[in-house]
Amino acid sequence: MALRDARVTLAHGGGGRAMRDLIEEVFTSVFAPPGMEDQARLSAAALAAPGARLAFTTDSYVVTPIEFPGGDIGKIAVCGTVNDLAVGGATPLWLSAAFIIEEGTEIALLRRIVATMAREAEAAGVRIVTGDTKVVGRGACDGVFVTTAGVGVIAPGCEMAAACVRPGDVAIVNGVLGDHGATILAARGDLALATELESDCAALGHLMADLRAAAPGTRAARDLTRGGLASALNEIAGAAGCGIVIEEAALPLRAEVVGMCEILGLDPLYLANEGRLVAFVPEAEAEAALAALRARPEGAGACIVGRAVAEHAGQVRMRTAFGGSRIVDMLVGEQLPRIC
């Protein structure tokens, strides 16, 4: 226990003994990366099958507050990158984790984040094999930023992509929408809203594996993060060159999420999620897909929300509960709370 400070100081970023102590005690003692080099060296056997491909993705995580009901930045950082691998059809294998830490951050907070990451990685069946820490002066970052990158393997023959979606395919989501976005809005405190909501943050690697096993024809999946379901569907419609129609009445939404949206004038279709995905499967496999999703806790709320259609290529439309119809466009920027 060389680390006796309660808070991170600039000395912990200086390349000396204080940094080494911080890294060893807080990070590598928990993540237990293989080897002692500044690079993980990993058996490539999992990638050796002829035709297997390597999947590689990254995301930075900057959530405020850093800890929130249902998770913390570490949980999102592991789940988000696992999900980016999984929705593309890859089996997630390894993660890197780079931390940018503001001077003054409590070391106890770092320990909690790291513990979350280790737990989530284990549950998701991935290893955090390499990492980095940087310390910046007070006011030069907002607490802690985490950037993860992920490497996975795509089995030979697996070809999931938005461009593969065909008219007639069914759009399935794995549960209620917008819990994460609404939770964060409330947790930030500046709108003075209180809810019992918890983030939906979850790793979806196992769920995707089960889905692909049950519905091998699955065309494409997307995790619903910033921009919500609406943005993911717009992306898919654009890439596939077909239209998508969703049913307002079929959208799974919690009352609190709807309530918060009504108060702030937001549209839940655009709220962020961290444990939700939309998958497009051939109609014939829809039942099997639903059953596979519902068999896991993170897919318990799975339901069909719409389908791809040949008409209005590139456009997403929603049939309102009234039988009316409207375009569900991409957002321009952020959704801002409105008064009118």
Partner: protein, 377 residues
Amino acid sequence: MKFASEFRDPALAKALLAEIARTADEIGATKQKPVSIMEICGGHTHSIFRYGLDRLIHDGIEFIHGPGCPVCVLPRARVDECIEIAQKPGVVFCTFGDAMRVPGSTLSLLQAKAAGADVRMVYSPLDALEIARRSPEKEVVFFGLGFETTTPSTALAITQAAREGLTNFTVFCNHITVPEPIKALLDDPHMCLDGFIGPGHVSMVIGIHPYDFIAEDYGKPIVVAGFEPTDLLQSVLMVLRQIARGVARVENQYARVVPEHGNTVSLAAMAEVYEKRPSFEWRGLGEIDASGLRIRDKYRAFDAEEKFGIGYAGVRAVVEEAEGCACGAVMTGRMKPPACPQFGKGCTPEMPLGALMVSSEGACAAYWQYGGARAAE
């Protein structure tokens, strides 16, 4: 959601649509010769597009989208003044999210924030007041924006600030009133409206009688309406029935929320803090007499215009609206958004030229976002 979901029932809507169709046929309304009904309030515009009512309703009913979006009618000069205040050192400029993207002559508030101004979005004037309490070293300015619905809240925030003796809280008052622009519209020789959907939430404050002149002086029916889809359809039906019967009255579809004479406390608070300006500039409509409010002398310590010598208390810059902007014509119902030569070209939600493209209540943005234009095959 109680008092909301019940009024979103598709079965009830279906009956209403059928009855509307019947009544429309009865008075001979057709796509070629439609009955034109203006929903004054941007909230109604939003509901119409959100629920797709414009595409469900009988062909013979045409919605004309009125000037009732306080963001859309905010002139460029006023946005520039906001930014001028927000850029002063030590100022925390608090605003509703709606105003963030409205284009000024060079920047929006969102861009001014990116360029360094301390602009914060709040949900309530009370939140700005709380920031002022917590940051005595800062000068907190609240961007008071909105019609009579919102005006009492800033009035009450000011009286609260006065009670607490806060010296670092002011309101940049841009409150406007509904009846005056309606009168201006009705006086416009190009105008050919058959009836009005009246603003439900403004009316809960001012009651329904301020609209009497519409029925009495101009002979047009007006029905004060709620914001749920059956509220709107029912109100349309009520307008049509007045037309069918050849009468013009002020009716109240939204009686669960709107008292006939409005809200006493709100009206008193407004009267205490605000008084009419001689005239106020509206984007697209120009100066309209007695259509805006200013802070009374008694509360001038809380008036950002006075404190910073800006706006009507300073030298007002003449700021031309953007070239080619047809917002005025759209707002007065003379033009549909897609007919504007800028629509979707020089003017998109990403880079709005006119204010009607900014707010999701703006007619152009609603047409664009909900596909009023592109979906109209």
